[in-house]
Symmetry: C2
Subunit: 282 residues, 2 copies
């Protein structure tokens, strides 16, 4: 990053955009400055422009003029959006189903993470439409400020960390809306055995796979760290980084059928967790 | 276009970008105004933005503010670049091998049509490197101003139309640098039979196909119209319109192996035409 470059004497820092597409799209991301290095201007260039610069540098000294327009504005008040379906037997026990509301301003954030918010809301909607009565509380959260510091997640932690033992499980969908093939699990290996009947149901539509992961969702990380079992759908992510954090992250990229598939998977897992006989091991 | 819109009372005209990619790239193109309609501002919007506008219009009246920066500057002098390998037996008879020099300013024009210029130059280069002696003259042309009115092609026509009968054949490569599978032919069906031995050679590398077309190259159209047999490589064009006339038309899109394949096909056809025993039917 720019701090490492500044320590070497750099006056500015340009990062080659990461991403899966080669359509001259700059890819936005967060820049963090270390306290002990000069804060030099930093920006992202497209892969094509990075290639061009490399080619020019090979031919001799290159002079660049940077006009960077981003501004750091003061924080403003904003909110997590939270809705509960109250549990019929253990209302104090909570299953979180979530995505995040904010996105980067180049695009509209349909893939990252409008899809996750839609999937989470639709999962709860499906459960209600099917007149299912969850025994535990299902809490849909649209997190605020995932991209820029996780303020929403941190506030929720501040408000609820005394109740982590009552947070039965947490889910987050933040990997786009691609076809799901199963669920990621952050938790004890025994969880898979306990979920076997649910996975058998999911497998009927090809989404019965499991993957144990170190980390499954940015906003639910405080709960992950407190050993609350955490989940996310395993999604087809081949195209996610084509659009991620670029101007091309718009609604036309969402395939309604695949969005619905994700909602179904999240709904099945959520309802199963809400009605499990025994608690999950921590 | 804008003239049709203006006749209906429009004050400006926005065209949905054509192209194969969905990466929020506007696609440039030519705007022609009719003499009998008001000349209203016209521009292209990306497919994503077109979708957004359609969606907004469905919800009610939409107000747009257009800031269009393009300028029509006066013409400046520029040149076709022409090089001959003189024929050993019929130097007055000419095979044209060509691409065009100009491109749209958003990108660098690597696919459209740096590739065609490179292929044409390399075809002649291969023939010289192999110490082949063409009986007819091979004329490599890098046309100027294909995109914006064909001034180079028109000037060549003006300078050479008295010699069309000596123009044995004309080729143009203006469809990118994708893997070639054969040659397009604008001319009499008998040409295929006469080229059979050449096509057999090309077929060894999978490029022995033929396609009779109405039109094979913009710059060689005056010769097509004068019944000069015209050719172009049949290329894998699946990705051409992803990059065509956009900011993403840059050198990294060219696959060196496929560029070389096109050069080989054009070289084989060119040399065969230069050394054919009999003239092609017109």
């Amino acid at each position: 990053g720019p701090s490492a470059a500044a320590r070497q004497g750099a006056v500015a820092c340009l990062i080659r955009s990461v991403g899966g597409a080669d359509y001259r799209l700059p890819h936005t991301g967060q820049t963090k400055y270390a306290d002990d290095a000069p804060k030099i201007p930093a920006g992202a260039v497209t892969a094509e422009d990075a290639d061009l610069i490399v080619d020019l540098v090979r031919q001799g000294p290159v002079k660049m003029k940077l006009i960077l327009t981003p501004q750091q504005l003061p924080d403003v008040e904003s909110y997590n959006v939270i809705g509960d379906i109250k549990g019929s037997e253990h209302p104090e026990q909570i299953i979180i189903v979530s995505g995040h509301l904010d996105s980067w301003d180049l695009g509209t954030g349909a893939v990252d993470d409008g899809a996750g918010v839609a999937v989470s809301m639709e999962a709860a909607n499906l459960i209600q439409k099917l007149h299912l009565k969850p025994k535990r509380t299902i809490r849909v959260i649209a997190w605020m400020n995932e991209e820029n510091g996780l303020a929403g997640s941190k506030q929720y932690e501040k408000d609820h960390r005394e109740e982590w033992s009552n947070h039965f499980a947490a889910m987050e969908t933040d990997g786009g809306a691609g076809h799901p093939i199963g669920i990621n699990i952050k938790g004890k290996f025994e969880i898979k055995k306990l979920l076997a009947p649910v996975l058998a149901v999911l497998q009927e539509s090809g989404a019965g796979g499991t993957n144990f992961a170190e980390h499954v969702g940015a906003d639910i990380q405080p709960m992950e760290k407190a050993d609350v079992p955490a989940f996310s759908p395993i999604q087809d992510s081949r195209f996610y980084f084509n659009y991620h954090h670029t101007a091309a992250d718009t609604l036309d990229k969402i395939v309604p059928k695949e969005l619905a598939e994700n909602s179904a998977v999240v709904a099945v897992v959520t309802y199963a967790l809400a009605n499990m006989e025994q608690p999950l091991p921590r």
